[in-house]
């Protein structure tokens, strides 16, 4: 990351960022550009540098916020119609920490509305294009974040990952992305998707940058009681077995794109040559991860979206004759199709008489998956895995078949169910010039060492 100092001004960093944003406009990355505020802050930083004052570890570094992060005075609409016109009166903990270190927010970037999706096609603002092929998807839900970093609009971007929303777009666009251990970074001020699965993370072009961002933003937050006591940087989870595993069931999956498979095999070979023992892991429970995920996640989604009722803020239907109209029409007009699908599924699995059969059963599967990962990490430091079975697909290719779209998440959701960290990193290009990427999975709290290891393997 280029950081402002006496030779590079913050203003020049921000200006080149704004210029790049302008040049890449047709990728539909930014939903809001905060030009004046960014330049004003850059000037303040430059003056501080001139006066010899401390300016923070991210002085003048332009970054983009995924549009589901609240930041004071900026729109935080999560690319959803129902939140249009909502200007946040408060900062998310992450926004606050980044800006306190001198990072400069140049704007907000596109996502699937409320982060529901794997392609950024479910956005109220339309899809974001892939950084390497405009006819292909950016991945999702943090598609805007990944493309903004890949095309050099910003040095880094924030993301949220509920079932792969950081790792899959990172892989689709050839950048680094981290999904930290659940509870590492505060979720306060990030529009909730599925609370027990949501984590905050980042996109960068280098593994070291992830480490800087994590060391700034990780830590217990009284405003989020699910955050863990500070551990990042304490190195209490060393990865020193010199053993890397791979999941047999993923490697043998017929759905896995052969080029991704070849990339995985070649990375494992490289690791072997570098002195790592390669261990084949059988994890049969992962077969049920996607099913469990698509019960727990929509249940929490349905619940978390209940607050958008048109009463207090955001969009309100003008077609209202009764209280029921206010709720029903606001939500009908304000939510995207995919939002509504998840609300329907979620309410179904939570409804009286079905709770035990669906939600409770899924919760049990989740416990089994946690156990299976715990066992795996007794024998290996980390697991190398595909992020998704496919390369970036064509825009519109999967929009008509939600199940096909959900299958995109089959290799990423187990990580969220288990609450473990994972780092996605680029491994080259396909023969068609599309980015290839893999993810490295580690035990809980191994985030720092996992980033280091991913940097070595990349």
């Amino acid at each position: 990351m280029k950081i402002a100092d006496s030779s590079t001004s913050a203003v020049s960093l921000v200006e080149s960022s704004l210029k790049r944003i302008e040049e890449t406009k047709d990728y539909n990355i930014f939903t809001y550009v905060d030009k004046n505020r960014a330049l004003k802050k850059a000037k303040e930083i430059d003056e501080k540098i001139k006066r010899g004052e401390t300016v923070g570890r991210l002085a003048g570094v332009p970054f983009a916020l995924k549009a589901n992060f609240l930041s004071k005075g900026r729109p935080a609409d999560a690319s959803a119609k129902i939140l249009t016109e909502f200007i946040s009166p408060i900062d998310s903990t992450t926004t606050e920490k980044l800006e306190a270190e001198g990072a400069i927010c140049v704007g907000c970037v596109n996502l699937d509305a409320f982060a529901h999706g794997s392609s950024t096609e479910n956005s109220y603002y339309g899809p974001t294009s892939n950084a390497f092929d405009k006819t292909r998807v950016a991945g999702g839900s943090s598609g805007g974040s990944a493309v903004a970093v890949a095309l050099g609009c910003v040095e880094f971007a924030t993301g949220s990952d509920t079932g792969g929303s950081i790792r899959q777009p990172a892989a689709f666009n050839g950048v680094f992305g981290i999904k930290p251990t659940y509870g590492t970074i505060s979720r306060y001020g990030v529009v909730a998707m599925a609370s027990s699965l949501d984590v905050i993370g980042f996109f960068t072009k280098a593994a070291e940058d992830l480490d800087i961002l994590m060391s700034i933003t990780a830590g217990q937050d009284p405003k989020d009681q699910t955050t863990l006591p500070d551990f990042y940087g304490k190195n209490d989870t060393p990865l020193n077995k010199k053993k890397i595993g791979f999941i047999k069931e993923f490697m043998e999956s017929s759905a896995l794109n052969p080029e991704i498979k070849a990339s995985l095999e070649s990375k494992l070979n490289e690791a072997k040559e570098n002195g790592y023992e390669i261990v084949e892991l059988s994890m049969p429970t992962l077969e049920y991860a996607l099913a469990a995920y698509y019960i727990i996640q929509p249940a929490e989604v349905a619940s978390n979206l209940s607050r958008y009722d048109g009463v207090r803020y955001g969009f309100r239907s003008s077609n209202v004759k009764s209280l029921d109209d206010l709720f029903a029409n606001t939500r009908d007009e304000g939510f995207m199709r995919e939002n509504k699908r998840r609300i329907m599924i979620g309410n179904f699995v939570l409804s009286s008489g079905f709770y035990d059969a669906y939600f409770l059963k899924a919760a049990k599967v989740r416990t089994l998956i946690i156990d299976e990962f715990n066992k795996a990490f007794e024998s290996v430091d980390a697991i190398l895995s595909p992020v998704s079975p496919n390369l970036a697909f064509k825009i519109g290719e999967k929009t008509s078949d939600p199940v096909l779209m959900y299958l995109e998440d089959v290799m990423s959701v187990p990580v969220n169910l288990a609450g473990i960290p994972a780092v996605a990193f680029p491994t080259g290009k396909s023969k068609d010039g599309l980015p290839l990427g893999l993810q490295l999975l580690g035990p809980r709290r191994s985030d720092k060492n996992l980033i280091k290891l991913a940097g070595k393997l990349a």
Binding site: N68, F69, L70, V191, S303, S306, N347, S352
Partner: protein, 478 residues
């Protein structure tokens, strides 16, 4: 109704009570929990307002208060409890769900002992957030979110209650227990405690309970008793005619004295309960529980035992509604001083209609009250004067004075010195104006003595002890 054996149907009652806890801040945010006298929507944090991305943060004080409430019900405190979401759409519920404890409540089984000695078992009690308030007008409604997520403790009784009086007694005893434990402000009129009463009837020989109706949101002991009596009549008429009682929620009107249907079981909502993922399970260490449990002060039943042979039980039952009075009586009692006279003052003077406003002022201290009682006992104060000093002690300008100081200031100390009194009596008898009365008395008209005593009192400016004066007069006129 009171004579159970004469009733055709047995009545079974279970009561759910919502207690607003008197914590400084709300259950899940750091804003002021006391919205009394404040502008609508002025005690609302972004968390209560349910902005996107806001997360609840559990108020530790509410947890401690709940433990104290549990202690007041001699209940088990569960070392692990957790929160759940109860979903429904209504403008008074900004999140679209209420955070409650559906699966794992903080308080387990306990009991409340009624003054009659009957034990009403508590099934459980759980923490949850209150809803906001709506005001409806002709063409619009207004929403006030000040009350959103005020901590509530919902206390659920077992169906152990079997008459209207018992229902009233249970609610009253629960209310007193919560006030003594300093869990709530206990202002019933403003909804600090609200009662939902479940009532069903069955024939004495039936094993199974009948279908129940739930009367929602009662907030006075009288309305609880009246609603139960009304429901007994209503349900027994239905059963008499061979029909079935419908399981439903009913509302009570004080004005009409009737309950009316609000929502039947078929219309009941599916709340889609779900574990609250934003709050980790609440694990309480035994030491923590024990420490809070032991902070529960003396309860009404402790005072009943303490005052058993000292204060008549009907007086005590009245005084028990006022924890401050009972506490000061106990202080005096513990110091081995008599409390009979003071408890009478409380019941007959302080709680008299015209003096009720005194309850808002600072109560005299146990030392002041003890001195006052002693002065009365030694006849230094007449009973009228003692009452006057007592009432004046509530006035802020007199509050710090000793009763003796105050009595002197008010010139109320009674003259008991016989020598001094005799002189006044002699003066009065020497006055020609009393001559006729003296003759009448000597002629056998004893009631004239009162006139003469009055003259002496007048001469002494009210400070003479009338009993002593009358003795002296009788002697002199022999």
């Amino acid at each position: 109704m009171t004579e159970e054996k004469n009733q055709k149907y047995q009545i079974t009652i279970g009561i759910e009570c919502h207690v607003q806890l008197n914590t400084k801040t709300k259950l899940f945010s750091e804003v002021d929990n006391d919205a009394r006298g404040k502008e609508p929507n002025s005690c609302v944090s972004p968390v209560d307002y349910a902005l996107p991305g806001m997360l609840p943060r559990l108020n530790g004080e509410a947890v401690k208060t709940a433990i104290r409430a549990g202690a007041a019900m001699r209940a088990k405190i569960n070392p692990m409890s957790r929160f759940d979401r109860k979903h429904y759409f209504y403008p008074d519920s900004p999140k679209g769900y209420q955070i409650t404890q559906f699966y794992h409540p903080i308080i387990g089984e306990g009991s409340i002992i009624l003054p009659s000695g009957k034990k009403i078992r508590i099934e459980h009690a759980h923490l949850e957030g209150d809803a906001g308030k709506l005001s409806h007008f002709d063409t619009y409604s207004l929403v006030d979110l000040n009350r959103v997520d005020t901590p509530l403790l919902e206390i659920v009784s077992m169906p152990d209650i079997s008459s209207a009086e018992e229902a009233r007694d249970y609610c009253k005893e629960l209310w007193r227990s919560m006030i003594y434990a300093n869990v709530t402000n206990g202002d019933l009129y403003n909804g600090n405690m609200r009662f939902d009463v479940n009532i069903s009837l069955k024939k004495p020989e039936d094993k199974k309970l009948g279908t129940r109706a739930e009367i929602k949101n009662l907030n006075s002991f009288r309305s609880i008793e009246r609603a139960v009596l009304y429901e007994y009549e209503r349900q027994s008429k239905i059963l008499d005619s061979g029909e079935k009682v419908v399981q439903e929620t009913r509302g009570w009107s004080d004005a009409t004295g009737k309950t009316t249907s609000q929502r039947s079981k078929e219309e009941a909502q599916d709340y889609r309960y779900m574990p609250e993922p934003d709050l980790p399970p609440l694990n309480l260490a035994k030491d923590f529980i024990d420490a809070e449990y032991s902070k529960c002060p003396k309860l009404p039943n402790d005072y009943r035992t303490e005052f058993k042979d000292i204060i008549p039980s009907d007086t005590l039952e009245i005084l028990l509604d006022y924890p401050e009075l009972v506490k000061v009586l106990s202080e005096i009692n513990v110091a081995n001083k008599p409390i009979g006279y003071i408890s009478n003052l409380f019941a007959s003077v302080l709680l008299a209609e015209e003096n009720q406003s005194l309850l808002n002022d600072q109560l005299p201290t146990s030392a002041q009250l003890t001195e006052l009682a002693e002065m009365k006992e030694k006849k230094e104060l007449s009973s009228t004067s003692a009452k006057e000093v007592f009432v004046k002690l509530f006035e802020p300008k007199h509050a710090s004075k000793s009763p003796r100081e105050l009595a002197k200031e008010l010139n109320l100390i009674q003259e008991n010195d016989t020598g001094a009194l005799e002189k006044i009596v002699d003066d009065v008898l020497a006055n020609p104006a009393t001559k006729k009365a003296q003759e009448d008395y000597k002629a056998g008209q004893e009631k004239v003595l009162g006139f003469l005593v009055g003259q002496v009192m007048k001469e002494s400016k009210g400070k003479a002890n009338p009993g002593a004066v009358s003795e002296i007069l009788k002697n002199k006129l022999k």
